[in-house]
């Protein structure tokens, strides 16, 4: 297990590389990429089994980025872990790229599911978990849902299915960053208490701070200890655009074009912070 500092440094690296990746195009899904980086750091740092040399290794744990627009954050951790060269991060969404705006399992080594049409990922994750269970395989499945995405009815079909078929080998996260494209969830389509809703669907359900790596890791370890044959959900209480005050405070931060001076400054600050963390 990594130390808190190591995990925090990993998250800071993902955040920095995600923004550098997005900066190459000058725009992108910034807010929802940033709010998942701590969880990605924990999953890829301490929890999941995988082999960057052999991305399709049958013994690996599977990760489904249901909110497919957070691809760049996933690409950043995959590059940092050596699934492909860091230089690929500069090719986001250019013609012929292996890193499209939304996750594509056929293009990007380490991406396990093609996502982008919201609401479908949890079903795919449930199918993976059920398929592994049928074949008596011990791999586990992790899925990252958006909070706005939970407006899609299919999410709740999958929630019902995963409980009914006792998929205790999966953990879903809800990135409760409280905003979607047109405003806050409460303005656009209120989700209310995601944890209570999943609990009502028969899931083992907890809520933690989405920016606290130790809380996230403990929640995952506790879930795996206690979930039994229930699917588990960890609701991540977070902020859209988290870790960058300029972005956290923007009214509409789902997808936007960068002010060049501002993004350069933001990345410089993050790099300085990261350098300081590395010196500690």
């Amino acid at each position: 297990m990594k130390t808190q500092k190591e995990l925090e440094r990993m998250a800071a690296e993902i955040r920095t590389e995600t923004l550098k990746c997005l900066r190459t195009r000058g725009f992108g899904h910034v807010g929802g990429c940033l709010s998942v980086v701590e969880t990605l750091a924990v999953l890829y740092g301490d929890i999941m089994k995988y082999d960057p040399e052999n991305p399709k290794w049958e013994g690996r744990d599977l990760f489904v980025m249901c909110k497919g627009h957070a691809g760049p954050a996933l690409f950043a951790i995959l590059a940092l872990e050596g699934f492909f060269p860091m230089e690929w991060l500069d090719t986001l969404s250019i013609p012929g790229t292996k890193l499209p705006s939304h996750c594509d399992r056929n293009l990007t080594p380490g991406v396990d599911a093609s996502t982008g049409s919201l609401g479908q990922g949890l079903s795919v994750a449930a199918g993976m978990a059920h398929g592994l269970k049928i074949q008596n395989q011990s791999n586990r499945v992790y899925a990252m849902l958006g909070d706005g995405e939970c407006g899609e009815g299919q999410v709740w079909e999958a929630a019902q299915y995963a409980h009914h078929h006792k998929l205790g080998n999966m953990i879903a996260f809800v990135d409760w960053n409280k905003k979607q494209v047109d405003g806050t969830l409460d303005e656009v389509m209120s989700l209310l208490d995601a944890r209570a809703k999943f609990e009502a669907f028969g899931w083992y359900a907890v809520q933690v701070s989405g920016s606290d790596v130790m809380a996230i890791r403990n929640a995952i370890l506790e879930a795996q200890k206690n979930q039994g044959d229930k699917p588990a959900v960890i609701v991540l209480d977070g902020i859209k655009g988290s870790g960058v005050p300029e972005f956290e405070q923007m009214e509409f931060n789902h997808h936007f074009a960068f002010d060049k001076d501002m993004i350069d400054k933001v990345i410089k600050n993050l790099e300085n912070k990261l350098a300081a963390m590395k010196e500690e």
Binding site: R105, A113, L122, V124, G127, I134, G153, Y161, H164
Partner: protein
């Protein structure tokens, strides 16, 4: 090769029994095969198989969209999923899931789409899908079959079991007219000439194949010789056979239990207009919704009768002189 077994009679063995036997055999012989159902196992006759193999024949409840996503996930971890619902609910209702979670993601699934078009009869217009071929044809690399009878059905679901890709089986569940002998073999992408003729060709699929054979008999008594093709393989379409039909008979009538928009008639007309312009008349549903009633009424209502096909063949032959 296929052998014909056409006498105009209904099959003795229910097509659902044939599916059940085929599924059970595949489950027993291949540990990777799974069947997912959206609360219509009773209709398909597989509840017994579900009881025997509860881990492999899985009820998804009334959740078609989730079922397609689950199939995608199971395919991703090496299983071979078959899924089932009514044709309407496993095509138009889940088009985005089929498109993205299965096809775009290059996962594999076998979609059993029960009772297309007028086969819904007493379920009526809400359940009557006349647009599924049009939808499915537009999904890149999808395989789309309009099933004619049990012999074809059992051959194709087995023959495609180990193949990668999205396979769509548009399938009746009752009152099927036998066209092929048991043990017949079929080739994906190759239509079947089920009757030879010189003056025109009826290219039909599914429910309309036996109707076309009856129409050809009617026309024979009037001295008109009609070739009948079973184009069960809507995609990939047998383009070479379409051209051959035009070259040898000079006019084509298509016949399908589907809208004339986007289905077999459209597919054939695309081939003709781009490669070999020739007279073509499309028999199918003309920009209408379905309605409730017995199948016999609906056959008359939408022109799926030997008489209507024969009349359209005569019209198509008349168009030859305008060429």
């Amino acid at each position: 090769m296929f052998q014909l077994n056409y006498t105009g009679q209904l099959e003795n063995k229910p097509i659902t029994q044939v599916f059940k036997d085929t599924l059970e055999d595949m489950i027993q012989t291949d540990p990777k095969v799974v069947h997912l159902d959206a609360d219509l196992m009773l209709l398909l006759g597989v509840l017994d198989v579900h009881k025997k193999f509860p881990d492999r024949v899985i009820n998804c409840g009334i959740q078609e969209a989730n079922m397609i996503g689950v199939a995608a996930g199971m395919s991703a971890v090496g299983l071979k999923p078959y899924t089932h619902s009514f044709a309407a609910f496993t095509s138009r209702r889940v088009f985005d899931q089929l498109f993205l979670s299965i096809a775009y993601a290059k996962k594999s699934a076998h979609i059993i789409a029960s009772d297309p078009g007028i086969k819904q009869a007493f379920n009526g217009g809400t359940h009557m899908v006349f647009e599924d071929l049009a939808l499915m044809r537009t999904i890149p690399d999808a395989y789309v079959f309009d099933i004619t009878d049990s012999a074809m059905y059992s051959f194709l679901i087995r023959a495609t079991k180990d193949l990668k890709g999205l396979y769509y089986f548009r399938t009746p569940t009752s009152n099927v007219t036998s066209v092929y002998a048991e043990g017949s073999e079929f080739t994906i992408g190759k239509g079947n000439i089920v009757r030879e003729g010189r003056d025109a060709t009826i290219i039909a699929c599914g429910l309309l194949v036996s109707v076309a054979l009856e129409a050809a008999k009617l026309l024979e008594s009037e001295g008109i010789s009609v070739r009948v093709v079973d184009m069960f393989t809507i995609k990939p379409l047998d383009e070479a056979l379409v051209i051959d039909c035009v070259k040898k008979t000079g006019a084509i009538v298509t016949a399908e239990n589907h809208s004339v928009y986007g289905g077999l008639g459209s597919a054939v007309s695309e081939v003709l207009s781009e490669q070999y312009p020739a007279p073509l008349i499309r028999v199918g549903v003309k920009d209408e919704f379905g309605e409730v009633g017995p199948e016999s009424y609906l056959r008359e209502r939408f022109g799926f009768t030997p008489q209507n096909l024969a009349a359209n063949v005569i019209k198509a032959i008349a168009l030859k002189s305008k060429q």
